[in-house]
Amino acid sequence: MQHKSKMAGADGDDSLYPIAVLIDELRNEDVQLRLNSIKKLSTIALALGVERTRTELLPFLTDTIYDEDEVLLALAEQLGNFTMLVGGPEYVHCLLPPLESLATVEETVVRDKAVESLRKISQEHSPVDLEVHFEPLVKRLASGDWFTSRTSACGLFSVCYPRVSSTVKAEIRQHFRTLCSDDTPMVRRAAASKLGEFAKVLELDYVKSDIISLFTALASDEQDSVRLLAVEACVSIATLLPQEDLETLVMPTLRQAAEDKSWRVRYMVADKFSELQKAVGPEITKNDLVPAFQNLLKDCEAEVRAAAANKVKEFCENLPEDSRETIIMTHILPCVKELVSDTNQHVKSALASVIMGLSTILGKDNTVEHLLPLFLAQLKDECPEVRLNIISNLDCVNEVIGIRQLSQSLLPAIVELAEDAKWRVRLAIIEYMPLLAGQLGVEFFDEKLNTLCMAWLIDHVYAIREAATCNLMKLVEKFGAEWAQNTIVPKVLGMANDPNYLHRMTTLFCINALSEVCGQDITTKQMLPVVLKMSNDQVANVRFNVAKSLQKIGPVLDSNALQTEVKPVLEKLDTDTDMDVKYFAQEAISGKYTTLSIFFLYEVASLGPRSLLVVLVLCQTHRSTMCPAECVSQCER
């Protein structure tokens, strides 16, 4: 038997086995296996040959639309790259039936992918095939019973339009018109979102005659969700039209959208403002968009004001140079001043994230006179996000007027953020410390900010202590090892005698981070003795972190120190009564790193058994997507 099988194998037949498995697994119970097979569809097709792929595989796939979304999504994607596997461009139309059925499923991602693949293979159709096979498919979808197929059709018009005869073109335009006034809002939304794209492939005359009327109709649709999509189309249409036609064809609709009754439509206008501004050009911007922008900045809905506030810098940058400063000073800045004391914190925070950018546009004098008071007001804002956004953009101002102008107000703001009750706020300000330190210089830093940086090391939230450790490393990179030796190393090492074991561990974490930037001398002479001494700590968590630290700083030390000082201590730890200590001592001795997952668990465990338990429960019962540091910090609170 054995022999016979081998004979058959020698004939080459067993090479079919893996393919046979793949084909059978196309309908395995396990989704993962089906997905796997679909992803290797090209292998199956290659083995079957072009003929059988066309006559057997594709018909089977066409009817397989009952599957899970992820399988269908993979299938829709695969079929977009299948042209060669069905016999080249000559036969590419064989791919249409399965993609057509995928274009009607209810799941948007699958439909979109099917449309994307259809668009792709449309380019591989000859002009004749396009009219014989592809265009009829588009028509079928466009007049389908269910809106899923009609929405899919909207995305296909633009790819076939340029390549068909003028009679067919007329039909396509008619179909698009019909879909723009479809009964279901779903289809009108799809049509509105493809309007701009379709306009681009149309002849200019038809843009003016057809597209503009459709655009106007969609822009005054009864459904908010349709009208707001017309705003996006407005950008593309405006770019297509000659300047002299914009006023009559586009602007009435745009003005109407900017004053729409629905805040969502106005929000869309605000959100797309920079694009609109570029599309309509400088003259219309000056006459129409400036007042419109002012209104959006004063809108009654906070969401709209926030969206507009976000665009302040971009809008000002793109203003025509000759009148830029006048427009900003007389029209925009008064609105901006009001927004600084807005009632809504999201608005203020959006403004704070861009307002600093105005200083480069306005230059030194205007900045000092007009913007500086606003920056200072925002630095004192009650909402921490506003202050943070100002601080995070300090570099823009630094270039124009230098940071010293701000330092008097900056310091209280930083101190307050550094002590904010919300740990995320504290975390955010820590991240800006290296940047601030660079801009303010070492003296200012030592005088005012150093204490803050050290205080974070004993924060009660782990994420903050961790970030503080990392911060020290970046500061040393900036200010150098000598500065470290004088200012921070003594303080860090002092914490090794702290009664709280968490603080003692922070010393170790700091040493892990600092050893490399401080260099061999400081590490060997000052840090190593402390680490070694801590190997006698009564808390096991500290002891195994000693093992980990020794492994970490090992590369910085010379071989003499390693042999005479580190090795004996690790060997001692290897005989520790605690199994975790032993484990990490062995790891350090063998020099191998643990797998990431175990490493993570021990990190968490190092915060105490209760934290570990809570984290595990949280992760398991709620399949938490929070990052470990967040989990832990929340536990501690």
Binding site: S5, K6, A8, G9, D13, D14, L16, Y17, I19, A20, V21, I23, D24, L26, R27, A47, L48, R52, E56, L57, F60, D63, T64, Y66, T104, V105, E106, T108, W146, F147, T148, S149, T184, P185, M186, R189, E222, Q223, D224, S225, D260, K261, S262, W263, R264, C300, E301, A302, E303, T621
Partner: protein
């Protein structure tokens, strides 16, 4: 449809009853919601056991006196477990599996979709049919025996063969973790892409394709819970205008909000409230004025609200009083004290419109349900009971005696069974077919064709 409530055109007759006949009813079998889909071809019920049962209307041709007669029956199409009992470990709270509401989505392809919700979690279900099966494996033969891997000399592509129709219900999306209080309403927006869900204090707006975030559009939770004076009892989207929705409160008022005006709809656009008649004021006034259900008419011009004793129809253009008020069981006004003691006063009766908005229906006690014809102002009381469930038997109108003397055929108020209540009813969107949930039984009645 002038004769809906007892006119001359037609009479209601029994069509079908679903559910067990046993006297002792399992708690899990109690029907908690009934809803027709938009065409009326499907009827869904949810129960306290977290199950959803879908019935399909099957057209059959009967030969009655040698004349073909079109009659349809609703037969079970699909049954599935929508929600399971859960436990909230952080709050030590049990979460019941009971289905509070079902709402069908407008049909988008050959499959059907519905939203079902319990107190906390909303789920989107897809109900689809499959009538083909793939046949032919490479690695095993027709009998399922494995083939020798080395003897595979050719590849077989599976072929789809017809099979018996199979209906599958699959959960498509789960919208969870957005409600702190109990969800009382869900309503699909006319934009076909969003829906709202309301609990006691908040209303959230969801995108049907996004499960990890929803927008809070109404929040009536006071900063200090001791200042809480009212709760949201129901909410619904206007059927034609995507930006308008209403919500009712336990104080008997209805607020209409316009989502165009602001992202947060804390400020209402319209406020519907009928001034209280000081002469009928009592200890129970506030409890019985609480609105248990609000429904827009199909036209979108009117809305109907149900409170404990009455149904009111409001014109959206008139805020100070309803245009029509119908008494459902006024004879209970003298019984409020005992209804308070047995908690019946807190029962949440729902109400519904017929397809042309000309008649309305709502439930009462003793398995009675009421219909009101809006044009003729006639009303009728019918009973959903096993006794009257003879095939195609006409339903006799019931009367409750209100005066001192009880006439023949009348039932005295004292002999009403308050454990038999009809809370959930549904009216076919196009035909005179109604579904009435009586505890664990679903009754389907239709007009008798003369």
């Amino acid at each position: 449809m002038a004769g809906v409530a007892g006119g001359n055109d037609f009479q209601w007759c029994f069509s079908q009853v679903k559910g067990a006949i046993d006297e002792d009813v399992a708690e899990a079998d109690i029907i908690s919601t009934v809803e027709f889909n938009h065409s009326g071809e499907f009827l869904a019920t949810g129960d306290k056991g977290g199950r959803v049962v879908i019935f399909q209307h099957e057209q059959e041709v009967h030969f009655c006196k040698n004349r073909p007669h079109l009659r349809g029956e609703y037969n079970v199409y699909s049954t599935f477990q929508s929600h399971e009992p859960e436990f909230d470990y952080l709050k030590s709270l049990e979460i019941e599996e009971k289905i509070n509401k079902i709402r069908w989505l407008p049909q988008q392809n050959s499959a059907h979709f519905l939203l079902s919700t319990n107190d906390k979690t909303i789920k989107l279900w897809k109900i689809s049919e499959r009538d083909k099966r793939a046949e032919g494996y490479n690695l095993k033969d027709e009998d399922g025996r494995l083939r020798d891997p080395f003897r595979i000399t050719s590849l077989r592509v599976p072929v789809l063969m017809p099979m018996d129709l199979m209906v599958e219900a699959s959960p498509r999306r789960v919208f969870a973790n957005a409600h702190t209080y109990h969800i009382n309403s869900i309503s699909v927006n006319s934009d076909h892409q969003t829906y709202l869900s309301a609990d006691d204090l908040r209303i959230n707006l969801w995108h049907l394709e996004i499960t990890d975030r929803s927008f809070n559009i109404v929040d009536i939770k006071p900063a200090n819970m001791e200042e809480l004076t009212e709760v949201i009892t129901a909410a619904e989207c206007q059927p034609n205008q995507c930006n308008v929705f209403v919500y009712s409160s336990s104080k008997g008022t209805i607020r209409l909000c316009d989502m165009r005006a602001a992202a947060l709809c804390d400020r209402h656009t319209k406020f519907f409230e009928e001034p209280e008649d000081p002469s009928s004021r009592s200890f129970f006034s506030e409890i019985i004025s609480s609105i248990s259900d609000v429904k827009f008419s199909h036209s979108g011009r009117y809305m109907m609200t149900r409170d404990y004793l009455s149904v009111k129809v409001w014109d959206l253009n008139m805020e100070n009083r309803p245009v029509e008020t119908y008494q459902v069981h006024e004879y209970l006004r003298s019984k409020l004290c005992s209804l308070y003691e047995n908690d019946c006063i807190f029962d949440k009766f729902e109400c519904c419109w017929n397809g042309s908005d000309s008649a309305i229906m709502t439930g009462s006690y003793n398995n009675f349900f009421r219909m009101f014809d809006r044009n003729t102002r006639k009303d009728i009381t019918l009973e959903a009971s096993r006794e009257s469930s003879k095939p195609r038997g006409t339903l006799k109108p019931r009367k409750v005696s209100t005066g001192g003397k009880r006439k023949k055929d009348e039932i005295s108020v004292d002999s009403l069974d308050f454990n038999k209540k009809i809370l959930h009813t549904a009216w076919h969107p196009k035909e005179n077919v109604i579904a009435v949930a009586a505890t664990n039984n679903l009754y389907i009645f239709q007009d008798k064709i003369n």
